[in-house]
């Protein structure tokens, strides 16, 4: 079966163990998750997750339905192919000295990225963009010597109107405040 890259977004309750439950459904099938990004959503106590996975479309759809069944899940949508904006954030620590620092700054400017830290022997570049842009920037500065890189993985949102996930008017109030399984 042909595998393709899929972007899934999920709205879930912010509780311990939820990420484990979600990730476990991919692991069970031997999927490698390209990236996961998790953060607060527009509602208190609700998190939004963005998964990027590689897999056959029918299998990903099957996983999506099972993710939907996790008790803390509000909804999971596969937004691959929708009109979406995707971005990720990267920190790239590059070797730099007084001789080449200005050259690095020029490249950073072209990519509309920022230098967020300067040390005698290095700089940290903060870049935002889609995967291709981050990869291009990375390739250009690689020649100076990369000391460290950290990328957030993709977040995604559909353009215009209403998104694939429901907008919650009220945060859910669960009676059971007990901690669910640990992450």
């Amino acid at each position: 079966m042909a595998t393709t890259k899929h972007i899934l977004v999920a709205l879930v309750e912010d509780k311990p163990g939820v990420l484990n439950r979600m990730a476990s459904l991919f692991r069970r099938r031997g999927f490698n998750i390209d990236s996961i990004a998790v953060g607060h959503s527009e509602m208190p106590n609700m998190s939004r997750m963005t998964f990027v996975v590689n897999g056959p479309a029918t299998v990903v759809e099957q996983v999506r339905k099972q993710l939907d069944k996790v008790v803390e899940t509000v909804k999971v949508s596969d937004i691959t192919g929708d009109n979406v904006i995707t971005r990720e954030l990267a920190f790239i620590k590059v070797k730099a000295n007084s001789a080449n620092r200005s050259e690095i700054i020029q490249i950073v400017d072209i990519f509309r990225a920022n230098i967020v830290d300067v040390a005698p022997d290095s700089v940290i570049i903060e870049a935002t963009g889609d995967e291709d842009k981050i990869n291009s920037l990375f390739n250009l500065v690689r020649g100076f010597g990369i000391k460290e890189i950290s990328r957030t993985g993709r977040i995604a949102m559909t353009r215009g109107g209403s998104g694939p996930l429901p907008v919650m008017k009220k945060p859910p109030k669960s009676q059971a405040k007990g901690k669910k399984v640990t992450k």
Binding site: V12, E13, G17, N20, R21, S24, R28, T58, E61, Q62, K65, Q66, D68, K69, V71, E72, T73, V74, P172, K173, S174, Q175, A176, K177, G178, K179, K180, V181, T182
Partner: protein
């Protein structure tokens, strides 16, 4: 009102109407067990191994439709539950398992008898909880029972640290569930039901495949109404056995790997499959790419994740099968499929799939048949896993709803004895027969002690062939008769049983079968019969692994004579 965590658990169990708990205590559950005697309405049954507790709770749940409850202590107690929990998960049996955990300050430190049971059971529970304070317990208990018993039922585990059991907290049992994200779809989509009715009306060769969903939802009457109104033949999955009366003219028995040849041929020839409360398990579909090649498929199931999982579906209907069938029955036209039904009856005559050969040798099929005769089909039959399980499904006629309990999805050897015990505890007025194999029985044989101590009147038929028979059959057919690691020298089960305090008999000849069964039934309590059956008997029909349903192997012996089939041929009322 202030109570300890342990009291809160007990109070909650009482509020949920729990009558019986199967379990074994241990250090981390001592506070909970210390509270138990103050709640005499909660009967505790001390099993001999935690796997038995989980299977007993499972058997109880399937026989009664209520949520089964089991307790186990932390560490090894909890891990011993795992097989039973996985079994309940795959067969959608409602269960709440409560495990002890080390005290909160010790969690995560590899303390004595600590294991991450919520982590371990994450993929085999419908949901699980690590209760980190006593105040959360009423809510957790309420949710756990609700989750276990509603929608597609399943096991829920609550991990309970020892100090949480001792912690005082306010007890107010919530009367409402607050699970905003959990809303099983019960009503089928009207447009989909309309489409299904239309397809049924247009089909020439419709076939219903009924699964355990009928039993869970209690949709016996609705299924029967649809079958009779539209005159649609019915086959069942293994776990669907007993969801539709097998003596009905339109019943064609079980499909699948050891299903009736004519049932499998019907699937192959049908132009419409109406799959109800079943999940297209590979043992039912055989080679999935060749499954029902001429048919449109309507799939009715409460779990949306089952739709399209294994086979392409033309009309999916997500909902409770009882409600969906109720609606579908309003729309379905009265119809007749005279040629189709006649064809199936011809196949049933030409391909008799249930055969008991004449002669002296004690055939396992004969034993099952005699149990049927003696109980008049009124008993609940609980099986282990293996050849005996298939014979029990095939050679007993299930006319009464929910009278067949077996481990389908996980195929857990050892399920039979503890599950039968649970079923009998749940239905004390019914006759419960455990039909087991010598291999399967020995995986949980220690529960004979529980049965004796608790005076559970289970009748046990051991079909002993001194082999792991099902695997031996595969070795015979597909591995050149190389019987590696399948011969068993099983012990004297009569002595074993008597040592546990359960009367028993050995039977080696056909003539002794019926009297022995009568003796077992006349006994007020438990009774075991050790049937020494034909050792190398095979289960037929059989669809070889990897083959399509239509490529079914039938009983090869020439002297074979059909017994059940001919007797079962319907008086034509079509």
């Amino acid at each position: 009102m202030k109570m300890t965590g342990a009291q809160i658990i007990c109070e909650s169990l009482v509020k949920e109407g729990v009558e019986v708990i199967f379990g074994i205590l241990g250090g981390s559950l001592l506070p909970l067990y210390d509270a138990l005697p103050h709640y005499p309405q909660l009967r505790h049954i001390l099993v001999r191994h935690e796997q038995g507790a989980a299977h007993a709770a499972d058997g109880y749940a399937r026989a009664t439709g209520k949520v089964g409850v089991c307790f186990a202590t932390s560490g090894p107690g909890a891990t011993n539950l795992v097989t039973g929990i996985a079994n309940a998960h795959l067969d959608s049996a409602p269960m709440v398992a409560i495990t002890g955990q080390v005290a909160r300050p010790f969690i995560g430190k590899d303390a004595f008898q600590e294991v991450d049971i919520t982590g371990i059971t994450l993929p085999i529970t419908k949901h699980n909880y690590l209760a980190m304070d006593a105040a959360s317990l009423p809510g957790i208990m309420k949710e756990a029972f609700y989750l276990a018993g509603t929608g597609r039922p399943g096991p829920v585990l609550i991990d309970l640290p020892r100090d949480v059991q001792q912690e005082p907290a306010e007890f107010n049992y919530p009367d409402k569930i607050n699970l905003p994200q959990y809303k099983p779809t019960l009503q089928g989509h009207p447009a989909q039901i309309k489409k299904a009715a239309k397809l049924i009306g247009e089909s020439q060769r419709p076939l219903i495949i009924a699964g355990r969903g009928i039993t869970i939802s209690g949709a016996y009457a609705e299924l029967k109404e649809l079958v009779e109104k539209a005159q649609i033949p019915v086959v069942t999955t293994l776990l669907g056995t007993s969801c539709f009366p097998e003596s009905h003219a339109l019943s064609y028995g079980m499909l699948g790997m050891h299903g009736m040849a004519y049932a499998n041929m019907a699937v192959d020839a049908a132009d419409l499959i109406i799959a109800i409360g079943m999940r297209f398990d590979d043992r039912a579909t055989a080679k999935v790419s060749a499954f029902a090649p001429h048919a449109h498929i309507i799939h009715i199931d409460i779990d949306p994740a089952e739709i399209g999982k294994n086979v392409r579906v033309d009309v999916p209907i997500v909902g409770d099968v009882k409600l969906v069938l109720g609606e579908l029955n309003k729309l379905a036209d009265k119809s007749k499929h005279i040629d189709w039904v006649r064809k199936l009856d011809e196949w049933r005559k030409e391909h008799p799939s249930l055969i008991i050969r004449d002669g002296e040798s004690l055939l396992p099929q004969y034993v099952v048949r005699q149990i049927y005769e003696a109980t008049k089909g009124e008993a609940i039959v609980v099986t282990g896993v293996g050849q005996h399980q298939m014979w029990a499904a095939q050679y007993y006629w299930y006319d009464k709803p929910n009278t067949f309990i077996s481990s389908g999805g996980l195929g857990t050897m050892g399920f039979g004895l503890p599950a039968a015990m649970g079923a009998k505890v749940g239905c004390p007025d019914k006759t419960v027969w455990c039909i087991d194999g010598d291999g399967s029985l020995q995986m949980t044989i220690q529960e004979l002690a529980t049965i004796a101590q608790e005076k559970v009147g289970v009748k046990i038929a051991v079909l002993r062939n001194n082999y792991l028979g099902m695997v031996r059959q595969w070795q015979e057919l597909f591995y050149g008769k190389r019987y590696v690691a399948t011969p068993l020298s099983s012990p004297d089960f009569v002595k074993i049983s008597e040592a546990y305090g359960i009367p028993a008999l050995r039977v080696e000849r056909r003539a002794e079968v019926a009297p022995a069964i009568q003796k077992a039934m006349a006994e007020p309590g438990a009774f075991l019969i050790d049937f020494i059956v034909e050792p190398e008997e095979n289960v037929y029909p059989m669809v070889p692994p990897g083959a399509a349903l239509a490529e079914v192997l039938e009983e090869p012996r020439k002297e074979a004579k059909a017994v059940k089939d001919s007797a079962k041929l319907p008086v034509s009322n079509i």
